[in-house]
């Protein structure tokens, strides 16, 4: 242990880039990235459940607006959505005088809105697919028990749809983490923002970006592990029986 810490001190002493100050930038960048991604995923998930139910509704006036929303947000690049929300809001005259400006002045909230709307659109489509793929037998059985539509949705369709959606949703989470790297274009100092700052400061693109890539890899690994655990627990009934 002692040898390890000595080795580490020596390693740090030998370079000019990874000082306490720059590691501090990476640290606060990590916090910002995790906050941004976590919050947008949670809010996006909460929005996506009713939207997915509405999206698979029989009624056209419910189905169509939700389809248009997912179509627009899946059909345009996230970077453009971020630009439009961050720079677009200021074209409403007098917005600086309203209470909204307190939220929109800092780049965090506009970025959070863009990321949330984007991930909610994708998640809605993932859930819709899962809801549609509910086996007919399960629905018929529920009907035979005399369940109302609402009860059937809550007890039968949604739980089984969530399980089916899990692997695809895990991908969406990882995509979201990586997509958050564009936050630095609107001055947010997230992980990528920190790396770009250090790159520009020390003219060391390789070191700065390699280090940040390693942090992203660690985050991705944690997400993969979490979803593998969830799949193992929630999809246990789909596993082939052990011989």
């Amino acid at each position: 242990m002692q040898a390890l810490s000595e080795w580490f001190t020596e390693l740090l002493a030998d370079n000019t880039i990874f000082t306490a100050q720059t590691l501090g930038y990476y640290g606060s960048g990590l916090v910002t990235t995790v906050q941004l991604v976590f919050l947008s995923l949670i809010i996006g998930l909460v929005l996506a459940v009713p939207l997915a139910i509405g999206r698979s509704s029989q009624r056209r006036w419910i189905r169509t607006p939700i389809f248009l929303y997912t179509y627009v947000f899946r059909g345009t690049p996230l970077l453009i959505q971020l630009y439009l929300i961050y720079y677009g809001v200021v074209f409403f005259d007098g917005i600086q005088e309203t209470w909204l400006w307190v939220l929109l002045e800092e780049p965090f909230v506009p970025a959070l809105i863009a990321f949330t709307l984007n991930t909610a659109a994708y998640t809605t489509e993932i859930f819709r697919g899962a809801i549609k793929a509910t086996p007919r037998g399960e629905i018929e059985a529920a009907r035979a028990y005399g369940m109302s539509r609402r009860l059937m949705m809550r007890r039968i369709i949604l739980p089984s749809a969530f399980r089916r959606a899990l692997p695809a949703y895990g991908n969406e989470v990882i995509f979201m983490l990586h997509a958050s790297a564009i936050a630095s274009v609107v001055t947010i100092m997230d992980l990528t923002g920190a790396a770009r700052f250090i790159y520009a400061r020390y003219y060391a693109p390789f070191d700065a970006f390699l280090f940040v890539a390693a942090i992203y890899l660690c985050l991705t690994f944690a997400i993969l592990y979490l979803f593998r655990y969830l799949e193992k627990r929630l999809l246990a009934h789909l596993k082939p029986l052990e011989q």
């Binding site: 720079y87 200021v90 600086q96 002045e105 780049p107 274009v185 001055t187 923002g193 770009r196 700052f197 790159y199 520009a200 400061r201």
Partner: protein
């Protein structure tokens, strides 16, 4: 070569005494390589003539030395090879002096350090750019520029620093009041904020060119390495122009409000 050397030594001797002007033969011409446009350092005016700070200063230097100047337009990528292959005898084209280039060429003394400046909206409540004066405000800079480094180190503890990819993004956020003050290359800020009719901005505080560790050694005239004598003559002429006010005249023409 010897002739040049002798001339220079004579010139140096003259300079020590009274008049710094160095007499050269009438037929001597120095050709300058220049890359245009780079406003306000070198560009073409409405009639297509070359003009700008570099051009005017270069011509004044030649006049001081008593030789003819010619300007040869050359793209930036080939500007050092062009010097070495004798397409021209010197480069005066906003070239920052640095060690990599010193391997290839011989630099004159720096003739300008491009100034940086603070820009605020005319109705801003900021009235000085000291550390206390900017306490709690948001400073906008272009990411990775020397202004970014300077602002981060000097004001990073008291003010928020917003970093933008382009000056245009920064202007947009100044307009929407997300950023309170911009710290930019003076020519860039002048072109985007001051000269633009739509906006109402002003410079606050002095032009900033110090300290050197942030703002660099400035621009130099590049010569072939063996032309030490020629470089020396330009250094002396530069010194004279700085002393007799000609330099300030040209500087004020391009870098004052």
């Amino acid at each position: 070569m010897n002739r040049l050397l002798t001339l220079t030594m004579m010139g140096a001797a003259f300079a020590m005494t009274a008049s710094a002007s160095v007499q050269a033969q009438d037929d001597e011409t120095v050709r300058f390589g220049v890359d245009v446009p780079y406003e306000p350092m070198e560009y073409r005016d409405a009639d297509g003539n070359l003009t700008g700070f570099d051009i005017e200063l270069g011509n004044a230097l030649c006049e001081e030395i008593g030789i003819e100047c010619e300007w040869v337009v050359q793209g930036w990528d080939g500007i050092i090879p062009g010097l070495q292959s004798r397409k021209y005898d010197a480069i005066m084209s906003s070239m920052t002096i640095n060690d990599d280039r010193r391997e290839q060429v011989l630099f004159s003394d720096p003739y300008i350090t491009p100034p940086s400046a603070w820009f605020i909206p005319t109705d801003s409540e900021i009235d000085d750019v000291s550390e206390e004066g900017l306490d709690g405000f948001t400073i906008g800079v272009q990411r990775g520029t020397l202004q970014d480094n300077y602002a981060t180190d000097m004001y990073g503890d008291v003010a928020d620093i917003n970093r933008y990819d382009t000056a245009e993004d920064l202007v947009l956020d100044m307009e929407s009041q997300r950023a309170d003050i911009a710290f930019l290359d003076f020519p860039v800020g002048k072109a985007t904020l001051i000269d633009n009719e739509e906006y109402d901005y002003q410079v606050i505080g002095n032009m900033i060119t110090e300290p050197k560790e942030y703002f660099g050694d400035g621009f130099g005239i590049a010569f072939r390495k063996r032309d030490e004598a020629l470089a020396e003559r330009f250094n002396e002429a530069l010194e004279t122009l700085r002393d007799n006010g000609t330099y300030d005249e040209i500087y004020d023409k391009y870098f004052s409000m």
